[in-house]
Symmetry: C2
Subunit: 603 residues, 2 copies
């Protein structure tokens, strides 16, 4: 049971009874197909194939080959060289017209026979066979399986294809084709005779939707820029007639073939293939056109369809007030931050950063740089960043820095291409993995600039540590006695996930980084603790293991009350221990409150 | 300083020196314009206007009027009636050709003069003046200001427009126009003579990009489906020639006019207008075409451009193991949940839900319903949901329920159109505002189905409350003495944000809801607490106020140790109080750990 299959089945049964039109019969092999065959495939840009009806029946690819060989010619020769031989304008004439554009003296586009034969002539190769092998290999890469040529159809086409030979010689006479036109037309007959199934065409379309990479085999069939160009030409010239009606009613780049197939592409999302051999007067599959229209309508696939009004790429825009770091601060530091925290703006971005999204960020920041100490862009919810968006954000940040406003990114995935740096780069840009780390950095920046009172000391003694200071005078000696000093070097692991409780650790000097393993197995920094702060309470009180790692960021001195000393205190001096626990409990709730506060951040 | 302005300025100066081409001179008023005028506007779909150069100079709209009157004709008559009069195929002929399509005997499209004059004839109105007023009002709504007609240009056009009169009479003779052709052509001269600025055209284009709503005035100028159709026709027929080249090199629906302007639209994102009167041999503005190409290339605006490969709409896919509710459980309940938690799948979705996104959700869920007790879709990070996506997700959820798998949404914004329901709807779909509420519901469901052992009691006594049970036998009487019972009715506020600390509250019976105010002023439920749980510790230990509200979900009985009793215990029995604090501290850290665990959820 899958609702997508259900929808395909409904579209299939909606049109299966339509037997209007007739199969192509200019060669007996085409006339011999089952006229009632009807298959529909929707293949997603990540490689999942939905199919209903006759999706495994083989038929010759015919004109649906044209965009693929055109892409190969573009890859072999470049856009300019191919553009000098083939125009890209809709012709308004039959696809097999033996004429060129009277002004440019070129085939009007690569989707009519004259243009397609010219594409073939531009395919590189050491020999006739080599050229055909390259064409067949390319198609096979789009389809994700080895495709083969139908000998009967080829021989029949070659025997009767005088009109295409005429086109070949006409192209030779105008020097559009500059090799033996019979060889070129022979290659064209061969490429049109390659057998495919509806499923194959669906995957080929999905490969185009996936920027030229086959989503199943992960093999690249064409460069993204070429795919974009080929899809553009399919938009205006892909259907035998009625490009305007097709764009208005279907709105997908497409190509049809007299074999009875239509291939359509929604870039970035999916490919569609329909096979039904009966053709209308233009040469397009009758049920193919109907099915494409209905799929576009029901699934809302029109490429100009907009689901919603524009939204801002800025998901939240707040200041340091709403995201204080958890670092301990002196009173004058706290006062300064209270007064100046709005001088640091943190913008949380989300979605794909294309031009419009980057524009809304640039506009939101505006000219606020001159009134700010720092701007932080939180990129964690950003998906893709386009080239122009990267340039725009980089330029905006550069502009801020030249106005004296520091800048930082929270960008653990390097979506802007800058790697995490704990120290400032030559241009002053900082990159952090967490908002808390960026907040700490921004707070230091604000304090360095504005705080004139006493700063939080870079070291405390056991007696001036806030935990000891909170203990009543009469209990302090007993508590102090229970601690012993420990030293750790830069980078030393103080506690690892799974370690048993250490006891209560008070930081006297240096900094420790608390980090937690994430599901991908990486270790993600959670916070930084410094002099006057503590750790280890949680496993100590729960008699459990460490969930996080604690590592010395710089040489660290801690005062440790071991588990044994903590336990023995209950007997030795219950009143002193009560005092200690009240202190710890208050600080535990303060931490919990700071978490609640950060969860309440505006969204 | 704004990088978008910088980019526009660069494009402007890149082409400002190009003086090739000549201004239209078929009437003296057009020949009299400043040939060097050059303005570029980019207007976003949310109404911000970037402009550089001569963006305030007035000129007549000329053929750029055609799509707007076509949209009005569609609105007045419907697509079928208009389609019976005007085709939508590129013509390949000059825009002012006095001929119809030889097969359909209709104007080939609404962007050539014959089609545009037919559009005018289809505009409703009680009188000639009323029809023109409707046209002018409509254009004004797109532009967001009252536009006026240039009398000189109108008179000059009317005096010399024999070719358009010829087209009018030809249309009348074929019964395409069925009123006085001179009146119709007069209206056409008037609409072409409406004065606009480059800025006006930019806003008109942005209105189309914004699905027909002027983003500045918020006034609707056209229905979304009509805008989509008009943009489709502009894609294939909007430029005087070279639709194929335009789609390949610019890739934006556009319309040019002999006044020297080009308007282009990127649906959902932005509108572009360029004004530069010198025209190329096709009648398109020379610098207009160059600027549009360059803007499309630099800003990556091509409508077939795909920034990235497809990504899944499923941001996280986890089970109840990773998102346990914070509700207290009996041992047998805990065992059951440990064993069965993987029978509840929670899928966190993100981004816009169009067909492809919904398809990836449907595929991820697959046929897992038969092995599951419940599926929860977390919709909080979803932006827009299209009609087809809503149907697909609804159908998928219905299918799951018919397989015996319960379903729920976390969807506070009703993005799927279902409102929050604390009780089950007739079809069994549940809608919650938080994942925690959905987790609680799913746990009860799993327990009802699988738990055979004793369930968590719906009430506890003070003696069987875990806080009392954790107290050593010898201290229990003292602690018990310090509590008094309090009762609250359903909906009663037990504590409001800002209230002073109450003391320590142990829940004996009933449930309380903890809720926090969010920045928008709404109160958002955070968790539900039941018998055996406690609250009030945080303000009690910090001597602070409540940050959250605590409300009785049903009649509630709590045992309360007031602040006074808590304080007096220090003197009365320090050992007993020490015991109590150890219990509270352990539970505080357990809560903190559960928050850390929930933050570590796979993303």
């Amino acid at each position: 049971m899958n609702v997508v299959n259900d929808m395909l089945r409904e579209v299939h049964s909606q049109f299966v009874a339509d037997t209007s039109g007739g199969v192509a019969d200019y060669i007996p092999e085409l006339a011999a197909v089952d006229p009632d065959a009807f298959g529909i495939v929707v293949a997603t840009a990540d490689g999942y194939v939905y199919e209903v009806g006759d999706t495994g029946t083989e038929f010759t690819i015919q004109s649906v080959s044209k965009p693929f060989t055109y892409a190969l010619a573009l890859a072999d020769n470049g856009e300019d060289a191919v553009g000098a031989k083939i125009d890209v304008e809709p012709s308004g004439e039959p696809f097999n017209e033996i004429s060129l554009d009277p002004v440019t003296e070129r085939p009007r586009n690569p989707m009519i026979n004259a243009g397609a034969i010219t594409s073939v002539s531009l395919v590189h190769g050491r020999s006739h066979q080599d050229k055909f092998d390259r064409i067949r290999d390319t198609y096979s890469r789009y389809a994700g399986r080895e495709l083969t040529m139908n000998e009967q159809v080829y021989r029949s086409e070659a025997r009767t294809g005088h009109r295409n030979r005429a086109i070949g010689h006409m192209l030779r006479s105008f020097d559009i084709v500059d090799t033996d036109p019979d060889d070129v037309v022979d290659l064209y007959f061969r490429q049109c005779s390659i057998d495919v199934t509806c499923r194959d065409l669906g995957v080929m379309a999905a490969t185009m939707a996936n920027n030229g990479v086959n989503p199943i085999t992960r093999s690249r069939a064409a460069a993204p820029a070429l795919v974009e160009r080929v899809l553009s030409v399919m938009t205006t010239c892909g259907m035998y007639d009625g490009a305007g009606d097709w764009v208005a009613r279907v709105g997908l780049p497409a190509k049809s073939g007299v074999g009875g197939s239509i291939l359509a592409v929604l870039p970035g999302q999916l490919g569609i293939a329909v096979y039904s051999p009966r053709l209308d007067q233009h040469g397009n599959s009758v049920r193919g056109v109907l099915a494409c229209r209905e799929l576009s309508r029901r699934l809302e696939l029109h490429f100009l369809h907009v689901g919603r009004a524009a939204r801002s790429a800025v998901r939240a825009d707040y200041t340091l007030h709403d995201a204080p770091s958890r670092r301990r601060r002196s009173t004058s530091e706290q006062d300064t931050l209270e007064e100046r925290a709005s001088r640091v703006r943190i913008l949380e971005l989300h979605g794909d950063m294309l031009f419009s999204a980057a524009e809304s960020v640039v506009r939101a920041v505006g000219t606020s740089g001159t009134d700010l100490d720092a701007v932080v862009l939180d990129m964690r919810r950003v998906d893709e960043v386009s080239g122009v968006a990267r340039t725009m954000l980089d330029d905006m940040m550069k502009g801020l820095r030249s106005d004296g406003c520091a800048t930082a990114l929270v960008d653990p995935n390097s979506s802007l291409g800058h790697t995490t740096s704990s120290i400032s780069g030559s241009d002053g840009e900082r990159v952090f993995t967490t908002v808390n780390a960026a907040s700490q950095w921004a707070e230091e920046l604000v304090l360095d600039r504005w705080c004139t009172g006493p700063r939080q000391p870079t070291r405390v003694t056991l007696d001036t540590h806030p935990v000891l200071e909170a203990i009543a005078e009469k209990h302090r000696a007993v508590i102090r006695e229970a601690f012993e000093l420990r030293h750790f070097g830069r980078g030393d692991m103080i506690a690892a996930p799974g370690d048993h409780a250490l006891g209560l650790a008070l930081i006297l000097e240096g900094r420790v980084v608390i980090a937690a393993p994430d599901p991908a197995g990486r270790t993600v920094p959670v916070s930084t603790l410094g002099p006057g702060m503590s750790f280890g309470e949680m496993p100590m009180m729960q008699r459990s293991q460490f969930l996080v790692e604690v590592r010395a960021e710089a040489p660290v001195t801690i005062a440790l009350m071991t588990m044994a000393r903590f336990d023995s205190l209950t007997e030795a001096d219950p009143a002193a221990k009560l005092d200690l626990l009240e202190t710890l409990l208050e600080s535990a709730y303060m931490q919990a409150e700071s978490i609640i506060r950060s969860l309440r951040r505006p969204v």
